[in-house]
Amino acid sequence: MKYCDKCKVKVNTSQSYCPLCHQKLTGEPDLEQEFYPKNVTNIRKILPLTKKILLFITLSSIILILTINLLTYENTPYLWSLIPIGAILYFWSIVRYGILSKQNIAYRLALLTALLIIILNLIDQNFTTVEEAQGWALNYVTPLALFACNLAISFIIWIKRINYREYLIYLITIVVFSVVPVILYYTQVITILWPSIIAFSFAIFILLFIIFFYPKSIKEEIKKRLHI
């Protein structure tokens, strides 16, 4: 074993200096290998080039659209550029949270649906100029998107039986939200009934299905997620 005559300690290493005082060690090493693996310097992860290029194109197109919008502001005095910018951002969310995310599929679907509903409603609120068409996002898109999401998650749960418990909470969330359009109809915020009714009745159907066939899981799942 090596020895440091300054610190008066034995050092179990094949290195030539003392880790405590950095002076020279005497003696021969016992081991062929180090006690701990050799230190390798950190390798920094570089953002992949494609991601960089895509990000660059996205940002420059956003700036370009904004610039054109502002330059032609006198002719078209509203911020129409927000629509394509919203679309671009939504596209990025699809890539980031929809495709590249490792979260479970139900979470991704629920998140993207929620984002889509929010974006389309914002567009509707701010840019729909034709009187009769106003409210299209709330009337049609919101309930039908919820319906589609509900359908998709139920379908996935039905096919991928193994992990269904993980997905339940998202299904329940969507089911709960499907009630909202019906309430909105009765408070007369929206005027078209049939999309809301479709979403609502399908949600009730799914809820009953869960209650009848997975009663314990749903109780457990809610307890787990909501314990305080």
């Binding site: 610190c7 034995k10 490792k102």
Partner: protein, 430 residues
């Protein structure tokens, strides 16, 4: 669906709740325990042993999931993979890269290393796991060894009290006064690159350590705390007491294993800490003076009422109605801000004495040493973990700074008393 049991998920225990919120690359809240065998570790057998043992420890075979109010542990069914050891010590455990698991098992030459995220357990729980893993490995290897009631074997049945949150059992709602604390002195040094951690471990003879402590009428932990305080004082504060940052007290943070004070059998977190608290602005503080102070701090901190008060203070915080009913992302922000403001600035350094590791007689010939290491962060750049196994008393320093002066002076204190010290380092220098 009726076979699902309530053991599928666990609440985080009181101590565990804070860690996920305050963990990052610098403050990793990870610690390791390791077993050095007398022969090279066979990775395939170790993988097999790990699989067997993880099934026996359902409280560790989990992943962290997000709830609306708190996160929780959910049973993890994905495969667990052991890996070769690298030079990185107590790196942040990223669940995504680890199939969701919050612990890692490594092998290297004769070493079996297990690193735990602190939410799972404390040092005692980790050592129970390591001993079980070592035992299982050696059994698979074909050696005739017996558990002798010292080892949790894979055939025993997990009980409920093993995954109990003991703090919420032994608290007392009438003794929970909150005590305000002053900020502590911070050890100075040049930070190492983030993610690197220096490790220097010294092995001393156990019986001589015990004798030395006995001759000073104190325990080994008390003695080491005093030596550490003296080292910090000599190298960084002495004759510099007039500087403003040196007027803060030196506070050594010492976790106490509560299983020794309460009849708990939990494998999860159950440790309460005590702190020494000494302002060192004078230029002539002697070792005896420091030791007297340390002994006082210990007897005050180990008082039963004080222990219960600390447990209750923690539990009261958790049971606070406002905190409880706030959605988790709000809690997260609150905890992060709170921790950034105070958190680690109340500690100068930590000495975690995980105590004597007892192995069955029949297993001892195959195990050379058992030691531990805790992480060192940005504000507490030098920390110590201690274990003793047979005649080996292991003092393991980890550091997040380049300087090794504290380690050097600490060990030179013992060599000057005629101790034989054997040093091992991972030689992380930058």
């Amino acid at each position: 669906m009726s076979i699902k049991k309530s053991t599928d998920w666990l609440r985080l225990d009181n101590a565990a709740k804070i860690f996920p919120a305050v963990t990052n690359k610098k403050e990793t809240n990870t610690f390791r325990v390791q077993m050095e065998l007398t022969e090279v570790v066979d990775s395939d057998l170790l993988q097999l042993a790990t699989n067997n043992i993880l099934n026996r420890f359902p409280m560790f075979k989990v992943r962290l999931k997000l709830g609306l109010f708190w996160n929780y542990f959910e049973k993890n069914e994905r495969p667990f993979k052991i890996r070769p050891l690298t030079s990185k010590v107590n790196e942040k455990i990223i669940p995504k890269e680890n199939n969701g698991y919050l612990l890692k098992v490594f092998y290297y030459n004769n070493l079996i290393v297990v690193e735990f995220f602190h939410s799972l357990t404390d040092g005692t729980g980790a050592l129970i796991f390591l001993k079980a893993l070592g035992y299982e490995y050696l059994t698979l290897k074909g050696y005739e060894i017996t558990p002798d009631n010292l080892i949790v074997t894979k055939d025993s049945v997990p009980t409920k009290d093993e995954s109990e949150d003991s703090q919420s059992v032994y608290y007392n709602p009438h003794n929970r006064k909150h005590v305000k604390e002053k900020k502590a002195y911070m050890v100075k040094g040049t930070p190492l690159e983030i993610g690197n951690m220096g490790l220097i471990s010294g092995t001393l003879p156990t019986n001589k350590m015990l004798e030395l402590a006995r001759s000073h009428n104190c325990t080994v932990t008390e003695y080491m705390s005093a030596v550490l305080i003296q080292t910090i004082y000599n190298t960084q504060i002495k004759y510099r007491g007039h500087l403003r940052e040196n007027q803060k007290p030196v506070k050594i943070f010492i976790p106490i294993n509560m299983r020794k004070h309460f009849p708990s059998n939990t494998f999860r977190n159950f440790a309460i800490f005590l702190k020494t608290d000494l302002v060192m602005t004078r230029d002539d503080i002697s070792f005896d003076e420091i030791l007297t102070h340390v002994k006082e701090s210990f007897s005050k901190g180990l008082d039963k009422d004080e222990l219960i008060r600390k447990i209750s203070e923690n539990v009261a915080f958790e049971k606070n109605l406002f905190l409880r009913t706030a959605p988790y992302f709000i809690k997260l922000i609150a905890l992060k801000i709170g921790f950034a403001m105070i958190g680690n600035s109340l500690i100068t350094s930590t000495i975690s004495n995980m105590g004597i590791v007892q192995l069955p007689e029949s297993m001892q010939p195959y195990v050379k040493n058992v030691s531990a290491a805790i992480y060192s962060g940005k504000k507490n750049p030098v920390n110590i973990a201690v274990t003793s196994y047979k005649d080996k008393f292991n003092i393991t320093f980890t550091r997040s700074i380049k300087e090794t002066i504290i380690e050097r002076e600490f060990f030179r204190h013992f060599t000057s008393l005629g101790f034989e010290v054997e040093i091992v380092s991972n030689y992380v220098e930058e």
